[in-house]
Symmetry: C2
Subunit: 231 residues, 2 copies
């Protein structure tokens, strides 16, 4: 079997597992988000800011992927939510099986929100469906505005682009309007929110987006139940 | 053939081509450097600053890899050196064949310095030998100090870590001494230079490193020739 054939087989197995995860998450009423961005884009800081601001009593859990170290899990555990570190031992992305292996006990306890921090990589994680409801691409203003053009795959697939570290805008040549234009040229319907974990800017909008996305998921579920009941 | 076996085969084919490139570069007396870093680490800006500062008459060439766009080649061509863009059409790294295909005519014209800018990715390019003399890892202060621990592969293989964007240090929580400590814990012999393309800080040291590395390559070549002559 040649390389392309093997890659297709691996991806197809991944998709089968992802479909099972998606069904289980739908059953459990869990909103699941897959955060993808370069190393240093600020994914962990963003999740820290998110956990801090979740409404009290939210049943949330975090899976955080890295090639090595438990650093991110240690940072994220300070907020009182369950966090599991997935170390991929060399692999440049999370795959559906890694999620499946770490999700079993959580689903039984009624998870509302599953946040998945992928390995720092703007390329490879894009191809691996984890059974999530939405991919979110995380881009920092310390990177270039042309990233959506250079790495179109993830910007095409993401529902939302979170622009991070906007407190650095006075000190970097980054033009947010150009980044927005580039992102929309790749994916006209992508949502865009600008944030800073240092100043807290934009977190009100992001937390509203998150709440609205969870509501949409609930509504879709009720709709499906209604259809099933009608049939 | 399973996935691991196919990956081994691909890497072994790559190594054969890389060995041929390495021999051809040695023959031509070309110093070749492979720059690896995240998207947004500042690889292109670093190469722009480098081309600007090369001694007049240096026979240098640049190969720059991206998944999509000619943006980097357009930026780099302004300095009067030959630049070729390699678009990988989805692949998350450059491989030796891409280099081989783009190198043929340059070697005949007596290239002294070959700068290779890899696809923005701290993981996958690490495994692909391009026949280069040295890998250089590019890390920006807008990323985290723990990157050497999280992505040890590239820090282990790189001769030099170039820390970029140090002009941002007053505005970010990055601690250079911790990054240095982490890099040295993974690779005790790694060289470290701090640079800023905005202020030009550190470029004197980096250009000296580059000149010294080229001298070492020449000396190694003369040594080999002397051995051959003696035999």
């Amino acid at each position: 079997m040649n390389r392309v054939a093997v890659e297709k087989k691996v991806l197809s197995e991944n998709e089968q597992i992802a479909a099972r995860i998606r069904a289980a998450l739908a059953e459990a009423g869990t909103l699941s988000l897959n955060f993808i961005g370069s190393p240093g884009a600020g994914k962990t800081a963003l999740l820290e800011g998110t956990l801090q601001r979740l409404p009290a009593g939210t049943r949330a859990g975090v899976l955080t992927g890295d090639i090595q170290t438990e650093n991110d899990a240690i940072r994220l555990r300070r907020y009182g939510y369950p966090v599991k570190q997935i170390t991929t031992a060399g692999a440049c992305h999370l795959d559906a099986r890694m999620i499946q292996n770490n999700l079993k006990d959580w689903l039984d306890s009624g998870l509302e929100l599953l946040l998945i921090e992928n390995v720092g990589n703007l390329v490879c994680p894009t191809s691996y469906d984890l059974g999530e409801d939405a991919k979110i691409v995380v881009l920092s203003v310390a990177e270039g505005e042309d990233k959506p053009l250079k790495y179109p795959g993830i910007f095409r697939k993401a529902e939302l682009m979170l622009l991070t570290k906007v407190d650095l805008l006075p000190y970097v040549p980054f033009k947010p309007e150009l980044a927005r234009k580039n992102a929309r040229s790749i994916h006209p319907g992508i949502d865009l929110i600008e944030t800073s974990c240092t100043t807290g800017a934009g977190f009100d909008r992001w937390m509203k987006w998150l709440a609205a996305r969870a509501e949409r998921k609930k509504a879709e579920r009720l709709e499906k139940e209604a259809v099933h009941a009608a049939i």
